[in-house]
Amino acid sequence: MLIKNLKKSLLVLALGVSAGAATLAHAEVKLLNVSYDPTRELYAEFNKAFSAHYQTTEKEKVTVSQSHGGSGKQARSVIDGLAADVVTLALAYDIDALHDEAKLIPEDWQSRLPNNSSPYTSTIVFVVRKGNPKNIKDWDDLVKPGIQVITPNPKTSGGARWNYLAAWAYAKKAYGSDDKAREFVSQLYKNVPVLDSGARGSTTTFAQRQLGDVFLSWENEAFLIEKEFGAGKFEVIVPSLSILAEPPVTVVDKNVEKNGTRKVAEAYLKFLYSKEGQEIAGKNFYRPRDPEVAAKFAKVFPEVKLVTIDEEFGGWRKAQTEHFSDGGVFDQIYKPGN
């Protein structure tokens, strides 16, 4: 009797809760975007615009929460159960891990949205001190003796992997072979006095500690340095060739199905590709994909020859195993005696 009663009341309770949840869902949709470090400003602005857009088109109120941190760490949080509806990370390798480690997304996630699922891009540029005292113009200047290069540790920083690959791509084009590229990159890392664990750490080392002659940086971070530490203290140098950094985005299928947020999550990512979304990316120093919007920002972003990771390195999985995994080229560079 007691058990029966208990069952009944539990049932009523469950009904009540689900009804409550349902009305709540109608009143307000919540979305969690798990992103990497330098996108704070970008998504703060974008989320506001998206909420307004969704309100007018779908008559629903959306609140987007953000989480920021190192790209790899953020991916691990999602793998370990952080209920992200969408992820917007620094490199495809970290999103691949959501499939490889936890099957949260299908393997072909990157072909679901246009442009490799990367609505905005960036590239790697040089930041030098005012007046460019060491006269640094291109990658070749970084391997000269007596030049100190600041770049984070590619083993711990996603951004630093782009730096490394950009240098490699340049050397391969300039000197013709992978062996030569390897020599070049080893030489370059001989000029690196400190390997910070993340991109923001390197920014501090260069800008505040006054260490180093040149800082390899995301283009969007380079602009931020000028803004934060005062224009005129630093100069941005664009090398002859760099890499097209594509920070990709995706819906996390397993989570949106659980949260019932697929529709709004997909609309959120689609809005990144809209004119308005592209403008916001451009204003926050990410290169827009939309040709029209890109043309508007042409003055901000200098033209530079860009190679992609797919043509040059055969995709992230391959690049990661060859260069950055334990025992890869980067580890060999630092082997004692090399």
Binding site: L195, S197, G201, D326
Partner: protein, 276 residues
Amino acid sequence: MRSLKKPSVIPGFGLSLGFAAFYASLIVFIPLAALFAKAFTLTWSQFWDTVLHPQALASYRLSLGAAFIGACINLVFGFIVAWVLVRYHFFGKKIVDALVDLPFALPTAVAGIALTTLYAPQGWIGQWLTPFDIRVAYTPLGVIVALTFIGLPFVVRTVQPVLEELEKEIEEAAASLGASRWHTFRRILLPALLPALLTGFALSFARAVGEYGSVVFISGNMPFKTEITPLLIVTKLEQYNYAGAAALAVVLLVFSFVLLLLINMLQHWNSKRAGG
């Protein structure tokens, strides 16, 4: 039967023991067991390859060596700080006393950034050391500085209460019986303080071995030179190599455990000797 049970001074022994065991398993044993379980998803050869890799060996040397030196420095200077705080009265003593706890309270990343700012070649302290060719930030010396900083409160806070209990009269008695200052220190004070000093040393060391936040900013993270083991653990995690990361963690854990065990044995031996 019931009447045979010896009543305890504190009631509820069974309940509190049960609670203590439950609580300890929840907070300590289960996470540690999970760590070991993860590490041993590797085969033996994979496990040994990971933990005996030259880069890992270099990192143990730095992590354990710097933690040991840091704990030794804290042992000496922490004792002096505790002595001064207990035995002397001076203006601002309360403030100094509170300052000692700061390394506990400060987020470690903040400590690391602050220390790096001071000791970088252009920093407030660093610029005065550069002419003498002494580099602190981005060298193993910087790691020692950071680990000394975070470990200080452990020694001070364990020695201080014991020192407060020691009455000055004992030293006076020793002096009146003709003991020299050194003799009083060695035969009267040190035996009483030794357990607290050892505990403080062990805590300071164990804390330093696992320290990550403050060290990564000042160490420079150069492979084979200034790379601490916790950083290596993070690089394994960046490759989604959870088992490899757990394997390195197990090594650190075993080192710390052995050291703590040794110190406990030393304490035991010491108290037996003192008692006998």
